[in-house]
Subunit: 271 residues, 2 copies
Amino acid sequence: MSGLARFALNQRTTARWSVADAVAGCVAAGVPAIGLWREPVADAGLDVAARLVADAGLRVSSLCRGGFFTGGASHGDNVAALDEAVALGTDVLVLVPGGLPVGDKDIAGARARIADGVAALVDPARERGVRLAIEPMHPMFAADRGAVSTLAQALDIACDHDPDVVGVVVDTFHVWWDPDVLAQIARAAGRILSYQVSDWITPLPADALLSRGLPGDGHIDFAALTRAVAAAGYAGDVEVEVFNAEVWERPPADVLADAARRHLDLVAPHL
Amino acid sequence: MSGLARFALNQRTTARWSVADAVAGCVAAGVPAIGLWREPVADAGLDVAARLVADAGLRVSSLCRGGFFTGGASHGDNVAALDEAVALGTDVLVLVPGGLPVGDKDIAGARARIADGVAALVDPARERGVRLAIEPMHPMFAADRGAVSTLAQALDIACDHDPDVVGVVVDTFHVWWDPDVLAQIARAAGRILSYQVSDWITPLPADALLSRGLPGDGHIDFAALTRAVAAAGYAGDVEVEVFNAEVWERPPADVLADAARRHLDLVAPHL
């Protein structure tokens, strides 16, 4: 199973599974790491979830998610997310930046508020030994989810801060289209805190939020992106993170087995 | 009606209207220009369509569309589109670049083929006095429609050629999210061949191709983009181009009247 040594299940890929189910599923499949989400962790209870992953010997590759700096989340809630990361044993909190509040047309202003929101979390993160992973999001989410639209922009924000505290997520789904992506991944050396993989499938499913495919089902060149991430020095886990209604209807253990095979075929050889 | 002096109806906004209907609708509404599409022009007959717009005294702001260099259209079909532009009395042919053929994961290769396809059309365009307007498309269409994803990329291709022959389209829907958009519009001075407006609405409708709103219904700052286009020296028409199933269900004359009002409120003051 050495080909899976850096493979992680982001638990949204198997959305029907509770934390307990997902932990058991990973153990059964020989998967060494898991990316957790705050909502299912809260459903399980933070202490219970922490004990489940620890007892199973799983690494927690990241916690999703803080952020939403432009209207939704409060600073206090983001600090709570940092505490949850500590409790779960991960040092990576993924930050979804947030989009434009209803009626707001000032995207430059939203981007400035995102930078301010990140800055306000730097000291609390440092105190807890947690790193902040800014996630640039596909431009189709600029209005309603994340107004940081390119890796370059995320790095511009991150580079105002200590690389030991603030970095970025490279998520293939969000960045694959970017003509500048390989150069920006190189620029991100020392700042890549999470590498997440899913594919861009066509036609785009009706719900844009659920439009991801398993690696190999779409148009993304995982070899090129993975080689770039490896060349930038990233040595962490690779989370498969697929939001897709049809994938979620399948038995989760089958999805995990497929995802592991895709990792072995498309990602691991290039790490 | 001087506020409408540079307003143009892109006929896809009133998709139910034939060319004859759209021409009559523009005349009735005091709209001086129309952007035509090849399919409805073919339905009407090229000569009939040309006579309709000429007899009505309408400018033809552009013809959509050539392009699809990555798999679909042939060079011969694109040359035919140039001939149609001449017959219709417009000197602007909009080029939709084309995406990735099924199974193709080489987006860099697709982008190179697009540049080659444009280059092959330069001489035929020059001979006919038609200009080629490369349309950068929103990154959500990179796989299936247009792998030129930013204005910067479109300009990189255009700038290999004579500015009298090759330029770009600035379409608010496609470029609004780009952190670099204002700088790239400035860079596009002398190369902007068409300015098209529609809004980014949320939630994104189920069919991503039909996800545009009338200006004012979404998150785009038309004042900022229009001022930038004007500052870059663009003196042509402003086409309202809305693909949206709900808009298409409404009486087309009502849609045109609404679009004209939005132009007067949101666009014309900044031209």
